[in-house]
Symmetry: C2
Subunit: 333 residues, 2 copies
């Protein structure tokens, strides 16, 4: 039970409920009575902690991420916190790890704190088995759930996504156009975003008349040296490939290091493309061509959508943002 | 006015005050009466938001950092959030940027939220001019202030520090012992930590009978390409140096890229040492020798100290942790 329920039941904006709670004169008697009646019906008691601050809500958003030290998520948290702050909201951060049990536990904890909404940052919160997402659907009955680069169909759930599938489709197509025929695909996880990226790669091969070779697709920990060693191991088995497309820049850095280790020239003998256009992309020589997944835009849009929800506006349940392919020196195009 | 004040005035632990608030039977009548009397004297009203959760406090710690997307601070936030969670505390995150005005604003905001303590992560919160730290001293009259890798002398302020000065002293001494005579020093900021690092470098030169040459000390933005370009520019002026000691791994990566760009061999013609032993250290070929600044240990210790404060124990006002020099391939030792 929170101010959001009152707003929804009364059919007025959160701002209006807040004005009623604060005794603002800028509310008609009719609206005031309606809101007070709904509060009474729902048994809603304004949160004294929040009211002590002169606010109708605790003006606090829960942010969940699997690991705030991951560079992509660290940037997400930064942009989300800054954006929410700009709208007068605090952020409670929860680093959940990857187990479903902990994700559920933290979501329940944030709900018990009566936060105004919860943002799930990163696509690892959406499971492939529908029942693994039930806890999110349940929470959404109580407060808005915002997904940053994840998608789940449901009432009161709002997704802002990078078009990962188109991004890898374009990247793989450009590799093929530049003469590559055996593109090795490295990925870190089967998250929603991870599946989209891989599908783009598969579609590009098919669309260009090339076979999808399962022996060129490998999962790898999100770690530079793991990726290097995986490729060195594959090289030792005699596997031949002329490009590496990676779902994360760290893996692409590992590919550059693999090439250095065995003396393959990049991009002449091996093309490499990373993902996220992080600062890792400029660590290597040559510097990485990488896909900019627009994390700042994803976060800004997420917050704009949330504010629209709070104000009772018509918020889009799904917004997609296009990625950019940033060309540097590990590709021939 | 918060539970901490009550605990201090009554001379009992936070846990005891909490038990009184929650009507626990495990408190003697004498203690219960004392705590209730102090609450009355102080005009303390238990926070209803917190009490609704069955807690005597809001069990929430404010974490301030200048920029959560900085890799060092991103790791700090991760370890702090996880550690606090383990003790049942939530974390409210504030990314303050570097202006004094905003730091003050966010500290006041967290105080108004009645958080139980505030952690200042990173050494940028401590100014060199004493008056710039007055707002921290003032806040410490109300609640514990924990500094992660910063130091400020004052009541109710607790510092956990990496011994940055000894770390750069050792690094520079090892460079000198391996034959380097012109060690260029790159640094990003004049923070508390930044000044310690530079002093260690200066002391090592003096201690080894080498002059401290101001023309070999440069400030540089914390950015790989800025560092590379700075060194290329210095090279063009004819400045000669046989080692680079950097206050951050990003600058050291820039030094490796500078060496690649002009064909200097590392470490034969140029030795390089970075700081933080971040994942950047393994991006380059050769991989970076770097100083491990023990961020996880700093955060764990900070939280242990805070819990000692909460429990009314004798918490150390200053704890120093030694760094480790991690040898990889950019040095001759």
């Amino acid at each position: 039970m929170n101010i959001y329920d009152v707003s929804r039941k009364a059919g007025v904006s959160i701002a209006t409920v807040s004005r009623v709670l604060n005794g603002s004169p800028n509310v008609s008697d009719r609206t005031r009575n309606l809101v007070l009646q709904v509060m009474d019906d729902l048994g809603y008691t304004p949160n004294v902690f929040a009211r002590g601050l002169g606010l109708g809500t605790i003006q606090t958003i829960g942010i969940m991420c699997s690991d705030s030290s991951d560079p992509y998520l660290a940037h997400a948290i930064y942009y989300l916190e800054q954006g929410l702050r700009g709208h007068g909201y605090d952020s409670i951060l929860c680093c959940t790890g990857n187990s479903l049990e902990n994700k559920q536990k933290y979501l329940d904890l944030l709900r018990s704190k009566k936060v105004d909404a919860i943002i799930l940052a990163g696509s690892k919160f959406i499971g492939q088995r529908p029942r693994d997402n039930d806890y999110i659907l349940e929470a959404a009955q109580e407060l808005p759930i915002m997904l940053v680069n994840g998608y789940l169909d449901g009432s009161n759930i709002y997704s802002t996504l990078c078009d990962d599938r188109s991004a890898t489709h374009e990247a793989a197509s450009r590799l093929i156009a530049s003469g590559c025929r055996s593109i090795l695909y490295l990925y870190t996880s089967h998250s929603y975003s991870g599946m989209g990226k891989m599908q783009g790669y598969r579609d590009a091969l098919g669309g260009n008349g090339l076979p999808v070779r399962e022996d060129l697709i490998f999962q790898c920990p999100k770690d530079i040296l793991s990726a290097r060693d995986l490729l060195l191991g594959l090289h030792a088995t005699g596997l031949s490939f002329d490009a590496v497309l990676a779902s994360d820049d760290t893996l692409a850095v590992g590919a550059v290091k693999y090439a250095h280790a065995i003396g393959r020239s990049v991009p002449d003998s091996l093309s490499i493309i990373g993902y996220n256009n992080s600062s890792y992309a400029v660590c290597t020589d040559p510097e990485l061509t990488s896909i900019d997944s627009k994390i700042e835009a994803l976060c800004t849009t997420t917050i704009n959508t949330l504010m629209t929800v709070f104000n009772g506006g018509n918020a889009p349940s799904r917004t997609t943002i296009a990625a950019d392919l940033i060309k540097r020196a590990t590709t021939k195009f």
